[in-house]
């Protein structure tokens, strides 16, 4: 007999994982279609209606490819890195509240949990680059690690702003607090919104998305850490990148935009979480196909000279606000 709590983890976790992987596949389809339209192309059209089955076809193709390991490579690390990236990204999902009080696990340390697994992502990327025994991969990995650890600081600090307001590190509690008071991105005017912007930028950098995709800059580094990878192992890196983008969107909507809380007092629920997450995902896609890539030195300067002190200031302002300003009632009345 399986204990009910294990069953809870299995069912909720299974549904969440499958839903996210499906969303990721369609996210990839959406991005390719969107990119096509932005560049006056059609994007995928052949497989299924409007190319909707294209991600499935891609997965099938990748599954059949030969699994190459370069002769010079450090075999164990080389083979282990791609599944680890997917594992760390997926593990973050455990604490994200999708519906009202619905999460795989309502951990009291939700926010540190998310940040910890996001931070761990540096390791598989580094081992992949090192183990490939390829100069492009090594350079890409060095850049990815430098960028990943640098942008982790503003991410950590701005994630503190919702924690300060809600007085809890449980992500569901933070959403509940926002439902009872106000969305952190909207009020207080200033700190909340700026914290969201910095958090969002750091998420883009952590997920290696344009304008922060220096680690895999195609024009200079071939494909960065994924240069030597083929078949499904390459597919796992690709999957992890999009999964990371989606998960980051979900985390940002939960921490700053009230997660499952409805607007104008409309009923709360999973549809709001989905709508907010997809809106942010759309925003990321839009940014990707509109902006150019930063240079490595610009990237580091933006982080250390501007974002780090700015997020420290935001933390202090939020603390003062919580101490001095009266707490507001529900934003949407009721």
């Amino acid at each position: 007999m399986i204990p009910p709590i294990v069953l809870h983890g299995l069912i909720y976790g299974g549904v969440a994982a499958i839903a996210l992987l499906t969303l990721t596949a369609w996210g990839i389809w959406f991005e390719r279609k969107f990119a096509g339209r932005m560049q006056s192309r059609l994007g995928p059209t052949m497989v299924g209606w409007a190319g909707l089955l294209q991600p499935l076809a891609d997965v099938l193709k990748l599954l059949q490819k030969e699994d190459l390991v370069p002769a010079q490579a450090d075999r164990t690390l080389y083979l282990l890195s791609p599944p680890l990236t997917v594992f760390f990204t997926l593990a973050t999902v455990a604490v994200i509240p999708f519906g009202v009080d619905v999460a795989v696990a309502n951990l009291p340390i939700g926010v540190p949990w998310i940040l910890a697994f996001s931070g761990l992502m540096v390791f598989p990327v580094w081992t992949a680059g090192w183990a490939s025994a390829n100069k492009y991969a090594l350079l890409g990995a060095m850049r990815a690690v430098a960028q990943g650890i640098s942008y982790e600081i503003p991410m950590l600090l701005t994630a503190l702003v919702p924690v300060i307001f809600a007085g809890s590190m449980n992500v569901n509690e933070i959403v509940r607090w926002q439902a009872e008071h106000h969305w952190i991105a909207l009020w207080p005017p200033g700190p909340g919104l700026f914290a969201f912007v910095i958090f969002f930028l750091s998420c883009l950098a952590e997920a290696n998305r344009i304008p922060f995709d220096i680690p895999e800059a195609e024009s200079e580094l071939v494909a960065g850490v994924t240069t030597e990878y083929s078949g499904m192992r390459f597919g796992l890196f690709y999957l992890a990148e999009y999964l990371h983008t989606l998960v980051a969107s979900a985390v940002a909507s939960a921490l700053f935009f009230g997660g499952w809380n409805g607007i104008f007092g409309l009923p709360d629920g999973i549809h709001w979480m989905l709508a907010k997450t997809l809106t942010l995902f759309f925003l990321i896609t839009w940014i990707r196909w509109s902006l150019l890539r930063f240079r490595a030195d610009q990237l580091m300067r933006i982080c250390w000279t501007y974002l780090v002190p700015a997020s420290l200031a935001l933390v202090m302002i939020s603390a003062l606000w919580v101490h001095y300003a009266p707490q507001l009632g529900p934003m949407w009345g009721g």
């Binding site: 370069p70 580091m300 603390a319």
Partner: protein
């Protein structure tokens, strides 16, 4: 309390299985080359013969960035319990943390001034 951790653990196992299962399916489906050549396992350098070992020395600025990162990361560890208890501790805690951050910013300003975080 422990129930939450049980379902977390279950989910971690599930995530690992999901990550690995794609590779298992791939193992069943993928093609295997009948013949292999030495060139196939060669390091990819845009079609040129690989030049020297790939594990080259890299710039020490990466090391400096990692050092500054550790400084701020440890600071964030101190900030989390503080952030949870601002309501209870009041102005005293805010002033204390302002002092702590001011000292850290001193180190940050020194690093900037020394050009430790410049990349050109």
């Amino acid at each position: 309390m422990s129930e939450v951790w049980t379902s977390t653990l279950v989910f971690l196992l599930l995530s690992a299985v999901v990550a690995a299962s794609l590779l298992w399916v791939s193992r069943a489906l993928r093609v295997r080359a009948k013949h292999s050549s030495e060139l196939k396992g060669a390091t990819y350098e845009c079609g040129e013969e690989p030049d020297g070992p790939a594990w080259v020395r890299f710039h020490p600025r990466y090391y400096v960035v990692a050092l500054v990162f550790v400084l701020f990361d440890v600071e964030a560890v101190f900030l989390f319990p503080w952030a949870l208890n601002i309501g209870r501790l009041g102005l005293f805690a805010i002033v204390e943390m302002a002092l702590f951050i001011a000292i850290l910013l001193f180190g940050w300003a020194y690093a900037i001034r020394k050009g430790a975080l410049e990349w050109q």
